[in-house]
Symmetry: C2
Subunit: 333 residues, 2 copies
Amino acid sequence: MQNMRLALRERPTGLLTDEHFDRIEEELSPLADGQARVRVVYVSLDPAMRGWVSPSTDSYVPPVPLGDTMRSLGIGVVEESKTDAYKAGDWVSGFTGWTRYLDVAPGQLNVVPQTVPMEAYMGVFGLAGATAYHGLVKTGEPKAGQTLCVTGAAGSVGSLVGQIGKALGLRVIGIAGTDEKCKWLVDDLGFDAALNYKTDDLEKGLREFAPEGLDLHFENVGGKPFAAALNNMKAFGRMVFCGFISVYNGERADEYPDLTALIRKRLTFKGFVMTDHFDEYPEIFAELGKLMQAGKLKYRLDIVDGLETAPAAFGKLFDGTNKGKLVVKVSDL
Amino acid sequence: MQNMRLALRERPTGLLTDEHFDRIEEELSPLADGQARVRVVYVSLDPAMRGWVSPSTDSYVPPVPLGDTMRSLGIGVVEESKTDAYKAGDWVSGFTGWTRYLDVAPGQLNVVPQTVPMEAYMGVFGLAGATAYHGLVKTGEPKAGQTLCVTGAAGSVGSLVGQIGKALGLRVIGIAGTDEKCKWLVDDLGFDAALNYKTDDLEKGLREFAPEGLDLHFENVGGKPFAAALNNMKAFGRMVFCGFISVYNGERADEYPDLTALIRKRLTFKGFVMTDHFDEYPEIFAELGKLMQAGKLKYRLDIVDGLETAPAAFGKLFDGTNKGKLVVKVSDL
């Protein structure tokens, strides 16, 4: 039985590309007792993965060792099992990595219900949904009637942050990178307004949307959108930091943030990492399930085909060309 | 009866200097009924005053109007009173402004006990002491055994932050701008260590002092010392923002802070302004009084002579040449 996987050959200093990976074709050994063999269906491409291949020992997870299969979240189907923990046909989700097949021990991946489309586990009921809910609700502590801004608003996390915000009674403005995305946010997702950071005057747009300032801001991007939001915060406002996608590839942010606003406006900044809060997943997914059933959460996937395309597709997260949650289809369900 | 006061002529774009003020010599009218006449003894020079003369409407206090006496904290003696609220000989503290005399209505200045030297009201029992205590204890929420870093450590606020920290059982490192200041922090104030940001490798020094990272940081300065502290924070650490003296005169900070640490290390940033918390003054000064009596708080004043020297002396706050709380002696007690 043939497998293919992508192993980290060298650490990128800028963008992650094909040349940083070795494509390994290998014959799989027969399945060992106590394990199950999983055929991967989707792997998730997330901005945080850029941090996982950095040499820094300072990140929240250890770097992927050189020569190892690239770490990623994913979902697949159990093909064969020699453990009571899994049975053939189970859907299993977790850190699959960039591989077509993997053998797992009990507890290594989670069996998930087949009551929603498998794709939902890559978005709403996956890391993106948990991150959006935890960051907005637990870290941001929003109150109905408040004004929320979210950057990376058309991304997998940002689009859910805005919709959860609307469901909680907030006024929501999103910042995204194309007119098409802005239109989607307002027309399809119900955001109150959206700004295109490439063409709109963000400072002016935010001031017009929230003349008294933003109560809450959810940061996914950094750079100019962050600086503009910072300049438009209301006194005693809160800024939640989920990501700085604009600087993950080693660039400096293109706008120096005026951090004196922290003091002038008595702001609170809070950074969080969702992997600290796995214990909240059941509660969060129950809440997201209710919102989903009420028709308050929409999502879209940007599916690229074939594991070998993963490194090139990863770049879409940083040039903003992905439309919705970016996943790689590794095999047919 | 002759008065002299300094009125704001124009708003500075950079440093505040003599040329931004008109020196007004004037004859005082007889004291009105219901008022008291105060002879100012000391006025306080504080970095925040730079913000008070900026045109920004975004600051936490309205800007000093052009033509008005420069706003400042100060302390003086009641010379004559036509109100029951004050009697001749009372010490009165509050916003006196840059003037030799002022007439005040009841409630405009606070009568303070003459049980400590008058100078103490310019430091420990003034805005600096309240700011240090509120910022460290209420905003920072320190726990005994934790590691604290403070920038502007030899300044009026920073020197008290470090000493309060030591009294609470913290390990304390200070960052200051001269070897003399660093020696004073360690030898006289009991800081565990001090770094000179002009000559020491801050990153290395902080790493050596706190190999596991800083639990708590108190920021007065911004720029390089802030960036170095940010890079050396422990996961889930807290950074308290009191001042950004390095950028108050319109400069950009000389070091771009790596704000991705907010997320990687799940940090909390909190900015505060002491004028929001006047209600805490009695409680804070009671606590500071206990520490003072226990010999745990030392302070030093840098006294310059004569109100007319105030604008030039103000610059000492920004070039780091003041040694201790900077005050202007306006008249003899």
